[in-house]
Symmetry: C2
Subunit: 248 residues, 2 copies
């Protein structure tokens, strides 16, 4: 089995922790990382507190191959991510002329422009992450990718990440089959199938619908042939129980 | 300012990290904890891996006042949360008769019942968390609350938590005002207002609608009077900019 390339996401924002805003970025990034051959193995949601951001970034960048942050790169007092990344890496911030040009494209009174220019502050040594939505860019500092929290902007930034920048392994593929069977009914046979294929991750997830309850069985791995073999065993198990396999 | 009582959520599940399933439990729990006077200050999403679960639980239960886990308490091979909590606390698992009674209420063939009885395994020393949905309960081990991952079941369990069990402070209250003003426009004045009220958390969140873009300003704190004063300053700021304050 090839080594897994690991990714960790750090979601920065009091609005997520208070329950006010539903995070949508984790699921999006996870799927995109799959395609790049990076497996998201942890995510953390942390508040807009300097010491917490610095400590979390430093812990995670040592522990995982890639780290992705979202949130806290706007123009207001609670946007402190760039400052914290600079402190985490012990480098100063600079204002690269190309970023200043983007940020000051639209005219504004001096006070407003000053706030807006906060978004042009980039840690020395970072490379930029393009923002096709037209706003200021994100940036990459070593293995840490710093992106916006607004989902539309975040997704535009993620769309620019590629294999030149992120060195993953084979993409993780998945198969999913459902059945109107309880988890307890399939548990013993599922465990056997999992043990026969330790490199494929087999998960079972109950569902509840108007017409009854059942279980979705999800297989995830990098080897398409092995996935197919496993999938066939799961399908056969369902048929042996006398019910019909459902495609999700 | 009274001491903040802190909560940490540990979301256990490969299906969240793969992007397959959108977590909905964090936002729900955060709001319920607010009412109990507990502030969620961190959340982690981790995979179904024994060492990771044990290490994360042990780190977080030492670091935060309360820890809440979701996921991994079903009947299949990937449901290992109870085992991991027992290992984290270095206690064995037992099957309390009242939980066995709940789990074996419906008849089933021996093999199926054996899988189902996995859900009756509770660490010695834990107290139960009722499950009004009728399924097996969650449990509390010291300051760690272990609950289901299926949102409906998780919400039923959370509904049973109260001030007898969770000792919080005053609930966190919030006020929110929006305006068709860019974040950069309000940034300087917002920073001043935040500095005048350090105990209230003032966040600014851009929005994009068909009829234009703007900013939502959210204030969160425990002192209702101070919230009102701050809210009035924010409202006046918006009026001074010549636009109308919007209730969200």
């Amino acid at each position: 089995m090839t080594k897994t390339v690991t990714g960790c996401m750090i979601i920065i924002g009091n609005e997520i922790l208070s329950g006010r805003t539903q995070d949508l970025n984790l699921a999006h990034l996870a799927k995109e990382l799959n395609e790049l051959g990076v497996r998201m193995v942890e995510a953390r949601v942390i508040p807009d507190i300097e010491e917490t951001i610095i400590a979390t970034v430093n812990e995670c960048r040592a522990k995982f191959d890639y780290v992705f942050t979202t949130g806290g790169i706007g123009p207001t007092h609670d946007d402190i991510t760039a400052d914290c990344i600079a402190l985490a890496f012990d480098v100063p911030l600079e204002m690269p002329p190309e970023v200043v040009a983007i940020v000051s494209r639209r005219e504004a009174p001096p006070e407003v422009m000053e706030s807006r220019l906060r978004m042009a502050r980039i840690p020395v040594g970072a490379t930029l992450i393009d923002n096709p939505s037209g706003g200021p860019p994100g940036f990459q500092m070593e293995n840490v990718f710093v992106m916006a929290g607004v989902p539309l902007v975040m997704q535009e930034m993620v769309s620019t990440l590629d294999g030149d920048r992120i060195k993953g392994t084979a993409p993780v593929r998945s198969r999913s089959i459902g059945a109107y069977l309880g988890e307890s009914q399939v548990a013993v046979r599922l465990r056997e199938i999992q043990e026969e294929h330790p490199d494929v991750d087999l998960g079972s997830y109950p569902f509840y619908r108007k017409d009854g309850y059942g279980t979705n069985l999800v297989m995830r791995g990098t080897d398409e042939d092995e996935l197919e073999v496993m999938c066939e065993k799961v399908r056969q198990m369902i048929i042996d129980f006398g019910v019909e396999p459902l495609s999700e």
